[in-house]
């Protein structure tokens, strides 16, 4: 078995190739050329993962709500002072220019009137907004004309009754989620409602939502900022990755809330597969869900005695309760053949060309091939879930374990590390199968499959240790084994990610991915 040699050589070549940029990693994001960077002295950055950067790592910064607010305030104050306009107007101008201060100032200096008009601000600075009762007024929206009707108009002079204005604003803010670009209700008028007028017209509850939405535009308008998609998380992440970089790198970022996601497509971390493949793959799976449905079943029959066997942990090593037959959940093959040098569970064997001559046979092979990869993809997804369930149970038992064995909380932490490793590694393994579906067959991809196999073997054996009953888990020999296996799993994952990330970055994509499989429609 040449795994160890390969392991060594991958690591050493890795070291040679890494550009030595470890010294400037903490210098912030300057090298991405952000022009609206707040003063670094404000100390509002939360840099994570800024150790030595691997080829699959990207630079990013997490901002919390107060950071986002502060960045906006700084810009609004600057424009407010330089241009001598109110803060409300400065904010409207900034939003109109998508928070590009430099372009705003440049354009404004050149032709202030056109800029104000285009942004929906008329030139005359006027008195504070107020409600008025105008004799003989008829509202153009509801056609109400009774005396004493309160009305409101923006600087453009288009006047409507207060009820209509409120209804209009309520619908825009509550239903349409609009804030930065709400125009005057008059046909063809592009004057934008400012925060002070809005405060006058709507309820406090709506004002709050309005300001929340305004805040969102700051993040949504900037290409380098994205919201963390975790439910209830209010942080935003800044990353300089451009759309055109996505075929060559998978920009996984991780929020302070611990959610890991792809900055390119916002989906959960899908390294090593690039965004476009993920999109293709998910579409294919959705289209073929019917065919593949049977796979998600939690039970299978023992290949030897046909008794029903339920999978309740993440591990693929199954032992039949009845006949003690040991087999692999994935390929139903003998388990004794796994974990040796000729372990082949991850690789799809292309049948020799002879029996795939006619179209029907070809389409059958193509389906089998897809199911091979889908099976393994779905299985890791499911196993990750099962491992997690198992951990929740184990966590309770850890407390028990401490009481009975006198181990400290720190001493039982190895179980939580093992669980974390299982989660991340399975997440990666899952996507290696989607990735492999689109791979060509050459020596590059053989290395990929070897890496995949090594990671999978490591993960399955850690998963198996993890399933042991609690009293056995306390055994110091097993504890050391679990700790070793955990760090080995993490190491194998890094090797796999390094290898694929480097090949993608070096533009070997065309060599790497099979045009045949990429052409598959869905």
């Amino acid at each position: 078995m040449d795994t160890d040699d390969e392991f060594m050589s991958t690591v050493s070549s890795e070291e040679d190739m890494l550009p030595d940029d470890s010294d400037n990693d903490l210098s912030g994001v300057d090298d991405f050329g952000f022009d609206d960077e707040p003063d670094p002295d404000l100390d509002i950055h939360h840099d994570i993962g800024q150790k030595k950067r691997a080829p699959y790592d990207v630079k990013f910064t997490v901002y919390q709500p107060q950071d986002i607010q502060q960045q906006q305030d700084v810009l609004v104050n600057e424009v407010n002072m330089i241009l001598d306009i109110s803060k409300e107007e400065a904010a409207i101008l900034l939003r109109y220019f998508r928070w590009n201060k430099e372009r705003l100032l440049e354009d404004y200096m050149d032709r202030p009137n056109q800029v104000l008009e285009a942004a929906g601000l008329s030139q005359t600075t006027s008195d504070p907004p107020k409600l008025e009762v105008i004799p003989g007024f008829c509202c153009d929206i509801c056609c109400e004309d009774e005396g004493g009707l309160q009305s409101f108009a923006l600087k453009c002079g288009h006047r409507f009754c207060v009820d209509c204005y409120r209804h209009y604003l309520g619908q825009k803010i509550r239903e349409e989620g609009e804030a930065a670009r709400i125009q005057c209700p008059a046909e063809g008028c592009n004057i934008i409602i400012d925060a002070r007028s809005l405060d006058l017209l709507v309820t406090a509850e709506l004002t709050e939502r309005y300001h929340k939405l305004l805040n969102r535009t700051y993040v949504e308008d900037k290409e380098t900022l994205k919201w963390c998609p975790a439910p209830d998380c209010q942080n935003a992440i800044e990353c300089g990755i451009k759309k055109k970089d996505l075929p060559r790198i998978v920009p996984t970022v991780s929020c302070l809330c611990s959610h890991r996601f792809c900055f390119g497509c916002i989906l959960n971390d899908h390294q090593p597969a690039p965004c476009e493949l993920v999109k293709k793959w998910l579409k294919k799976c959705a289209d073929d869900s019917e065919t593949a449905n049977w796979i998600s079943a939690n039970t299978k029959e023992c290949p030897k005695c046909n008794s029903t066997i339920e999978k309740n942990g993440g591990c693929n090593h199954m032992t039949c309760r009845k006949c003690k037959h040991e087999f692999c959940w994935m390929c139903m093959g003998l388990w004794s053949e796994h974990g040796t040098s000729w372990y082949n569970c991850n690789r799809f064997e292309e049948k020799s060309g002879t029996d795939a001559r006619d179209a029907q046979a070809k389409s059958r092979v193509s389906l089998e091939r897809y199911l091979h990869y889908y099976n393994r993809y779905a299985n890791h997804e499911q196993s990750a879930r099962l491992d997690k369930d198992l951990y929740t149970k184990t966590e309770k038992k850890m407390v028990q374990l401490q009481k009975e064995s006198g181990m400290s909380w720190i001493e039982v932490q190895y179980l939580s590390s093992a669980s974390m490793a299982l989660q991340t590694c399975r997440q990666t393994l899952m996507w290696t199968y989607a990735f492999a579906f689109y791979l060509a067959r050459n020596n590059l991809t053989e290395i990929f499959e070897d890496n995949q196999k090594d990671l999978e073997l490591a993960v399955e054996s850690l998963s198996e240790m993890f399933e042991k009953p609690v009293n056995e888990l306390a055994d110091s020999k097993l504890k050391v084994d679990i700790m070793d296996k955990t760090s080995y799993c993490n190491k194998r994952r890094i090797i796999l990610l390094d290898d694929t990330a480097q090949n993608l970055a070096e533009g070997l994509r065309s060599l790497y991915l099979s045009p045949v499989w990429l052409r598959i429609k869905s």
Partner: protein
Amino acid sequence: MSSSKRITKELTDCTTTPPPNISITLPSDSNISLWHITLSAPAESVYYPGKFGIIVQFPLEYPFKPPQITFATRIYHPNITNETNGSICLSLLKTDNWKPSTKIVTVLEAIRQLLVEPQPDDPLETRIAEQYKNERKEFEKEARAYVSKYAKGQVKFNVVDGAGAAGEGQQAGRAS
């Protein structure tokens, strides 16, 4: 807030000063929110002298939500779906662009203008849009053929593709 006052006002305005080439009827006296419009294609359009039935349904939230417009008469046009009760793509009717002070007259005028000047870059029927851009003669021929086949004589509002009497009930069901 009731929309009936506004709709009544618009109906009165439309009857006292009718917009050119347009006639309005209410299929049911008790329902002011459903209008049947007969639009005579402008002479400068390829659809002349066709007469087109247009159904206007005012939603409950009108005028804060735009009216729903459908073409009861089939028409060969890049921005109108090629079917009975075809839907129409008009930027001023999109939620983001709709202004509550916009009157139905303006909408009808925009539709009339769309017959004169289709917008192939914002199509609902991509094939027709392509043809409009690249083979104008073919497009015009086909559009005229549709006019002769569907847009001649008395405008019908309830016909389900040649079958004659699909019934008022279905129409009302659709509209409510």
